[in-house]
């Protein structure tokens, strides 16, 4: 579904990704874990066209999408839910949703789609006329996820969905992502909260210093003592699995 081939890239002259390579299958959840500064969020920005890629290739369903703009990535069926709060504060919930489909050509279809998404997230229908800034943190995150669904993406990039949410809300968000996976959406997620994220994922990917160090089924990674070791500050210097 998505493949990164030996990506080098970063901000300005600073290189963050040092030959990142991995491949994820369709209709799966893959969680990227790794220490701070490993380049987890940077991988997402690279995929979504928000980063200078110096070399390497990104393939989406076999098509080379390296160096496309965010708009072109959206058109190709990719949506991105970044870390933190990402609503337009002074616009209503409904208009925030509508912005999620700003690139859609058929606006009538979009309106129907907004109704469907509000069926999926009844809270959004209830507060549709409220300003987004008046929602709680968890509600704003739901709005962001809902907004990313409007265009029926094939691939969703979700960065740290659990930050600032209560454990119950985190469960809700994870369950939503699993439902989406069951509907055929491919999800690539970054999570600080590695344990609970891997528990709901199909695959896990350990990123260190901008390179994929381990990539395996989530359950296997969860059981691997080296993963725990890595999060205590160690390095993986035994065999590299890609």
């Amino acid at each position: 579904m998505l493949e990164l081939k030996d990506i080098y890239g970063g901000y300005g002259k600073i290189t963050i990704l040092n030959g990142t390579s991995f491949k994820i299958p369709r209709a799966s959840i893959t969680t990227v874990i790794g220490p701070n500064g490993a380049g987890k969020s940077t991988v997402f920005k690279a995929i979504f066209g928000l980063l200078n890629i110096h070399s390497g290739q990104i393939l989406l369903e076999g098509t080379d999408v390296t160096g496309r703009t965010p708009k072109q990535m959206i058109d190709a069926g990719v949506t991105y839910v970044p870390q933190g709060r990402n609503v337009v504060p002074q616009l209503s919930v409904y208009h925030n949703l509508e912005l999620g489909g700003i690139t859609a050509r058929d606006q009538r279809k979009l309106r129907d789609r907004i109704e469907q998404v509000m069926d999926q997230f009844p809270m959004l229908r209830e507060f549709r006329n409220r300003k987004a800034v008046e929602l709680s943190g968890g509600q704003q995150k739901q709005l962001e996820v809902a907004r990313a669904l409007l265009l029926d993406p094939k691939l969703m990039l979700v960065d740290e969905p659990s930050i600032g949410l209560s454990p119950n809300l985190v469960k809700d968000v994870f369950r939503t992502l699993q439902d989406l996976r069951d509907q055929g959406v491919t999800i690539l997620m970054v999570e600080q909260n590695a344990k609970s994220a891997l528990a709901v994922s199909d695959y896990g990917l350990v990123l260190e210093l901008g390179q994929a160090r381990m990539h395996d089924e989530a359950a296997k990674l969860l059981a691997d003592p080296r993963v725990g070791h890595l999060f205590l500050g160690g390095h993986i210097d035994e065999e590299e699995t890609a």
């Binding site: 979504f48 928000l50 965010p70 708009k71 959206i74 058109d75 991105y80 970044p82 709060r85 990402n86 609503v87 337009v88 504060p89 002074q90 616009l91 208009h95 509508e98 912005l99 999620g100 700003i102 690139t103 606006q107 800034v133 907004r147």
Partner: protein
């Protein structure tokens, strides 16, 4: 009492024209962190475009005015963004502010040098008649100015809130990173903002210049008033800039009659000091409107 009413009405009239400049000022700040200290000259210049087109080139007034607005949109909107803002904003807000100050001086001196250092009569769009309402004598240009200026601001608000492009512009101003990842063409939205500012400045120019004469130095006070009105209103919202503009218009008019014409120019500054002391976020502002 009727004199007071008269002063309020004519204050609202000039105030609504100040508000046009202040709203544009606020829009530029929101969309691109541009503090435009040439805003006063932006209001001064279009009147000279009208004069150049009508007096020098012989266009009829009904054609010269819309042409001047279009030219203002291109020069004060598109060219300003391309030639001044884009190259300077890379170096930060302060270099850009200084560049706008320089631009203001340049525009002023150019008009003085190439058009005339003397005040030029400027035609009014409206008959200089008066109507009597509740015993108060109100001039027709005052009413017309108020209606047109407020109409422009209301139309702008409807556009920003009621159309998808308008809402994309709001998204760009309030959270550009989010706008970008949703696929909003943020560069184009910022360009629209600059073009709207050019149009607002041109409308303000055509309305306010008949009250004085068209003079190269007209922007000095106007720019200051637009700046103060925007700050008084809260700096980050259109409604605030509107209230700020109207307030300064009224205070300006009342003080000229009841206090002293000599202190007239000082009063907006006093208002600014008072507001900054007691309500630094501005009348309608929130303490920090921008989210990161």
């Amino acid at each position: 009492m009727s004199e007071f009413f008269q002063l309020i009405v004519s204050g609202l009239s000039t105030g609504s024209i100040y508000a046009l400049a202040a709203v544009g000022f606020t829009l530029l700040w929101q969309a691109s962190q541009t503090i435009n200290f040439a805003q006063g000259e932006f209001v001064m210049l279009p009147a000279f475009l009208v004069l150049a087109l009508s007096v020098k080139l012989g266009f009829p007034l009904w054609l010269a005015m819309p042409l001047a607005i279009i030219l203002a949109v291109l020069i004060l909107g598109v060219l300003f963004k391309r030639l001044v803002v884009e190259p300077m904003i890379k170096h930060g807000t302060l270099p850009l502010v200084i560049a706008t100050i320089a631009l203001g001086v340049l525009l002023k001196e150019m008009v003085k040098e190439f058009y005339s250092p003397l005040g030029q009569p400027f035609p009014s769009l409206f008959p200089q008649d008066v109507v009597t309402i509740f015993g108060a004598v109100i001039s027709i240009p005052d009413i017309a100015n108020f209606v047109i200026a407020m109409g422009a601001i209301v139309a702008l608000q409807l556009f920003l809130g009621g159309t998808r492009t308008g809402r994309s512009m709001q998204a760009t101003a309030q959270n550009p990173d989010v706008a970008q990842i949703l696929g909003v063409d943020i560069k184009r939205m910022v360009l629209y903002t600059f073009m709207i500012n050019g149009a607002l400045a041109a409308i303000a120019s055509i309305l306010i210049t008949p009250i004085y004469l068209a003079k190269f130095s007209n922007g000095e006070t106007l720019g200051l008033i637009a700046f103060i009105a925007a700050i008084v209103g809260g700096f980050n919202q259109i409604r605030g800039a509107l209230v700020g503009g109207l307030l300064i218009g009224i205070i300006d008019n009342l003080s000229a009659t009841y206090v002293s014409a000599e202190y007239r120019q000082a009063l907006p500054l006093i208002l600014l000091i008072v507001i900054i002391l007691i309500r630094p976020q501005g009348l309608l502002g929130t303490s920090e409107g921008r989210t990161v």
